[in-house]
Symmetry: C2
Subunit: 417 residues, 2 copies
């Protein structure tokens, strides 16, 4: 049995390229997937994220991706960290894969001593953030991400399953505290205080940061979002659904890197994705590109809600009605309940979207999107506009009741000097 709080044991050692080859060779099903003999395999390190070692191994017949946790943050060895994050990623994959086999990768193997996770490699796929920065906009991808959020969250929620199964899964993921602490600190606390992890190069952003920290309604909203994130275990979340966690070739799209998986409000996953689209929107030089972003946001939300409501509709006819959300059989009441449920997700999405925009500009972990704006004054203007948009989302001086209100506010902030 996998331990619940795995610690580094004497058996654990960090693999190098040859170690990866030897490790794979010891697993017949994985070796068989590559084909040939170990000498035929091409193994290379492709570590890119902040936390883990990642290797690709290719053989004559196929390829795999091997991920190993380190006892520290990969990019900062002084930041010690337990190894269990690949355990949670493997558990997340096993929980959601049956519901989204076309939108993520299968967990082929998990080693509980070495904290190694193996999944099929993706060939010909690009990181979505990279594609966006290159001006490649695929509305289909936004629709697929909407489907992904709908199917993975619905399936793991009380709407789909008896509460006992939901609680068992909550028990598992409530142990993912190290990475949940990172989310809470980096997204929902640090940017609203002085903290050494925060940084931004452009002094013109400083007054806006001060305005955020001096706005009672911003801070009240942040408080309520933080409490909500930690006390509304609606569904199993990806937990870090930015455009760097999405691989696509324009047709086939896979959501990866679920190590931040936790039970929380569905609007958190939706908000992080939309927040990253909005960062990309503000970093996009041309009008056509900007319009494409708004299309993607619209497509994502439409796809998410349609898929989620379809699943709910079909669930009504399942046999074990007692596990189902509602007792009422009155259609108009059911529809009212459903629209209220979706509206709550929408409001959560707006809030978490704003926190993601802010933390990516003035917190610890920035994103590359704005580097495409090589003109510094333009970049500054756009980053300021993005921060002010986030502030508006949090304050909602004019209530944002629909996606149309939200998109209108986006355009307003883009054009405000």
């Amino acid at each position: 049995m996998t331990t619940s709080n795995p610690q580094q044991t004497s058996a654990y050692h960090t693999l190098d390229l040859e170690g990866v080859r030897t490790f794979i060779a010891s697993l017949p099903s994985i070796a068989g997937r590559l084909g040939g003999t170990p000498e035929d395999w091409h193994v290379r390190e492709v570590s890119d994220g902040n936390l883990n070692m990642v290797f690709l191994a290719e053989g004559p017949q196929g390829g795999i991706c091997l991920k190993q946790a380190l006892p520290h943050v990969r990019v900062d060895p002084t930041w010690k960290m337990p190894l269990d994050r690949t355990f949670f990623e493997a558990s997340w994959l096993r929980a959601i894969f049956p519901h989204v086999p076309d939108l993520t990768t299968e967990c082929l193997h998990f080693d509980a001593e070495q904290f190694i996770l193996i999944v099929p490699s993706l060939s010909g796929h690009t990181v979505m953030r990279t594609a966006l920065m290159a001006g490649q906009y695929h509305p289909a991808v936004a629709a697929q991400v909407g489907d992904f959020v709908a199917r993975s969250t619905f399936a793991t929620s009380l709407l789909a399953e008896p509460f006992e199964r939901v609680m068992d899964r909550r028990i598992c993921f409530a142990r993912n505290q190290t990475l949940t602490r990172i989310t809470v600190d980096l997204i929902l606390i640090d940017p609203y205080h002085d903290h050494p992890r925060n940084h931004w190069a452009d002094p013109q952003l400083t007054p806006i940061v001060a305005a955020l920290r001096n706005s009672p309604s911003v801070l009240a909203r942040i408080d309520s979002l933080r409490l909500h994130f930690l006390s509304a275990p609606q569904a199993l979340l990806h937990g870090d659904l930015h455009t760097g966690s999405i691989m696509t070739n324009g047709t086939d799209t896979r959501i990866i890197d679920g190590e931040f998986a936790t039970y929380g409000p569905i609007g958190f996953d939706a908000g992080l994705f939309v927040g990253n689209l909005i960062l990309s929107f503000f970093a996009t030089p041309d009008r056509a590109g900007q319009a494409a972003h708004l299309d993607m946001i619209q497509t994502f939300w439409t796809s998410f809600t349609k898929c989620f409501l379809d699943l709910w509709q079909n669930r009504e006819w399942a046999e074990d009605r007692s596990t189902l959300y509602y007792a009422t059989t009155d259609k108009s009441t059911q529809n009212f309940e459903k629209s209220l449920f979706i509206q709550n997700i929408f409001q959560d999405m707006l809030g978490f979207c704003a926190t993601e925009i802010i933390r990516r500009l003035v917190g610890y972990a920035h994103i590359a999107d704005f580097s495409v704006l090589t003109d510094q004054p333009t970049r500054t203007t756009r980053q300021k506009a993005a921060l002010l948009f986030a502030k508006d989302c949090l304050e909602q001086k004019k209530p944002l009741k629909s996606l149309a209100d939200f998109l209108e506010l986006l355009y307003q902030n883009l054009s405000t000097p």
Copy 2:
């Protein structure tokens, strides 16, 4: 280590009177508390609740109460049930006792093989329901229960502790699924459907039950309360806070029987207590007694909110500010946040209060309160009024914004023929 899903093992056996004596004799600290020798002890069975065996043992120097789980419901041996409920009661006591040492009993011993819990015995205390039925109204008791709910829930919430500690406790109590299933079924599902467990003797209640089941807004509210109960782990709840779980001598009050402990919305504990006061209110023959009940409800709510807000106020000055609910230091925003938090608990309380009233009149487990009304037509009138009051609470055709609105509705329902 205590197993998470304890099953009946070969070591387990149900104790009889002599078994209790021998068991206590094997525990020096408990035997010492009784004093004398085992032959000096007076042991008797006082099982009263539906689930467990309960014994009192008295010696020359003191007394203890011993509770043992059975592998079935005590009053229905065909209803099989795992033994772990005393484990959860012991865990609940250990979690909350430091915060309410004057309002509950200490866990003196828990045996993980025999599923035996030992606490000090209460001498001279009466079950609160029995006291109410005898016309003994102690406003101090309502204030103490308000303090109990405030202190036990605040201390186990995200307002008081880093989320990691809250999550660890949620992990523990999310395993209490057998008793949580009872709550969900008996309180939040069965009464709103035909189910063999439901029963009521008086045919005059039947049309009101039909009206409840035909009201879209009642059913929508029940759906939302059920989902809320299972997806808002605000604090560690008692989980079954009716007037039979409270022992008092009018001055000293102790809340017992926490085996239904679970993380949930604070308004659930408050609602069950107030619901039972309201059942007692409708079962009270005289005006003075009725007025005393309204005083108790008012006192409970005032005491709860004052104690909860005081704890929150003091928490602001604690050192580890990062664990605290809010980032804002603006006093008026803080007060707004707090009043919103309390208002949400109030609305939850109204909803769960209504579900408790309904299930105690037409569900599986009725209460004795109405037996004091020996005149059958009066009893019928009052039970109908109680059900209609619960229906009004769920429908809120006229919104109930304050305790004054709520108490006014109560009096209206009492006087409506």
